[in-house]
Amino acid sequence: MDLRTINFKNKDVPVDVLTSAPASVFVKSQHDPDDLWDDSRLIVNIGPTHPAMHGTFRMVARLNGETIEKSYCEFGYTHRAKEKLAETKTYHQFVVYTDRLNYCSALHNNVTYAMAVERLMGIEVPERNIWIRMMCCEIARVIDHLICIGISAVDLGAFSFFLYGFHQREEAYTLIEKLCGARLTTSYTRIGGLMHDAPDGWEKEVKAWAKQTRETIDEMDRLLSGNKIWCKRTIGVGVFNREQCMEYSFTGPPARAAGLDIDLRRDTPYMYYSNMEFDVPTRSNGDCFDRYLVRLAEIRESLRILEQCADKIKKGPIWSEDKRTRIPEKEKVYNTMEGMIHHFKFFMNGFQVPEGEAYTAHEGANGEMGFYIISKGGSSAHRLKVRGPSFWHYQGLSPMTEGAFLGDVVANLGSLNVIAGELDR
């Protein structure tokens, strides 16, 4: 097929897919003299690789002047069949695939997945493990929000704002690196345990980092929140009210910015969140500016939680007592026959998960991160569904931007923080 033409309604019409073509070519089959705006219609294709799209997804919009009349979104360019892989890999092998879902906050995915499988198996993890997981989650949340508000400001032309946050983000990655040696794709959790224990004094470093980040956040707040250009570009832009959020299953900061007050950490208490003191910031307008403010406030709350965790964490085991999921000690693997057999059995055959099903949700940085696993016994899942918040948020982009200017799409997309890895799976 020649890319320059497309068969539409039984005729070949020229399309320049990379730039744009007059919409009258396909949308209006004949010239309508009563329509004042007939000739000004244009179809614009944004993406899949466009600097403002934050990943490989695409939006095709029919414009009237600069106003979007109708649009559709496409994605799936980085589809890696994770759900199919989950049915063939063992539960342990799938841990690494969870990193590549929301790669801005990989630790959330690791922790949620570990919780989901532990829940199916009925494994209780020790206290220190939960504290470390909680701290990981909150660090990841701060990173995710920093990149979200930073990048959305870059898209609207405020570059230096992003660099303030970027430094703290790098420092946070250094903290994560101390845990597991990786910065982005962490694979830190194991079913029933963790890859490594946190090094000595790690919590003190986290506390120092939290203090420093708080100062940076105040600085960023002063820099941007009252900025006239930023306010003009975001206030009243991309409004998605509470009812629409319910319709489109919005969760996380976009929902809370519209007054839909749900936070799974508070509402369905898990880990030790019920022992923590934190507020759930909400706003009522549901526009880009409110999403920004909610994220900014959430960073402060996360830092509060981190400081409380750092005070409460104690030394102790990180692995569950349960022998089913325990990875054999290296000393035994290298020095005993039984240990080596155990090692190979564990990594090649995996462990058996009893029959059952569970939907485990965790308040991720962008919203409800869920793993729905159906097990029919055996060492791999019968069905594993990843519920990524981006999937539902990106669906709201078309209705959100209908009637808005094309330039507002960038602001909307940045404030929703759609991550292609989680969307495409």
């Binding site: 497309i6 179809i43 994605f75 063939t88 509402d267 069905r383 539902w392 495409d424």
Partner: protein, 191 residues
């Protein structure tokens, strides 16, 4: 330790917290929908974390809107919506609705069996956001939805043959397209 016994980790309070609610809800559903409800699994006795209501396709919309609006239920949030291939069982597919209540903060699950030749009822009238999930289920499992004859794929290329998450679909199979997917200007026409 009895490995068949379900212990809920980090969520231990959930069953204790919501058991009374769930029991009364399940009773009300049974009383109201009678034989349209094919079975109910309850946590504690069955291997599940929340109650599962199995419903016949004909009563699905009625049940979901009842659960969405009725006082004492308030499952007003569709947290997740997916399917699973249960072959060789008949009907082959399960359509699964994970619902959440934004006021009561508990979850419940509704399942519906659908044969390969049947069309599943569309819940877009209840939650507009179910649109993409329905497209995903069509894409991955090949289940059609009522009122959507031209439903299109979402993750895979529109020219793709087969439905990858079916159990008989090999993980090693691939299809190569020499040209990129063409644009679809007809999606931009007013309905």
């Amino acid at each position: 330790m009895n490995i068949k016994q379900q212990v809920v980790t980090n969520f231990g309070s959930e069953l204790a917290r919501f058991e009374a609610d769930w029991r009364s809800q399940v009773e009300r559903i049974k009383a109201r929908f009678k034989e349209a409800v094919e079975g109910i699994s309850f946590p504690g006795t069955d291997f599940t974390d929340v109650p599962i209501v199995r419903v016949k396709p004909t009563s699905l919309i009625e049940l979901l809107s009842f659960m969405k609006i009725e006082a004492g239920f308030d499952y007003d949030f569709c947290a997740d919506f997916t399917a699973s291939d249960e072959s060789p069982r008949e009907p082959r597919f399960d359509i699964i609705y994970n619902l959440f209540s934004t006021t009561r903060h508990n979850r419940i699950r509704v399942k519906m069996g659908i044969a390969e030749s049947e069309e599943a009822p569309s819940i877009r009238s209840l939650w507009a956001g179910a649109d993409w999930s329905e497209r995903e289920i069509w894409d991955m499992f090949g289940v059609r939805f009522e009122g959507r004859p031209n439903i299109r794929r979402i993750l895979m290329d529109n020219r793709w043959k087969g439905h990858p998450l079916r159990k008989d679909y090999s993980i090693y199979s691939y299809q190569i397209f020499p040209n990129p997917e063409p644009p679809y200007p007809e999606y931009l026409e007013d309905e």
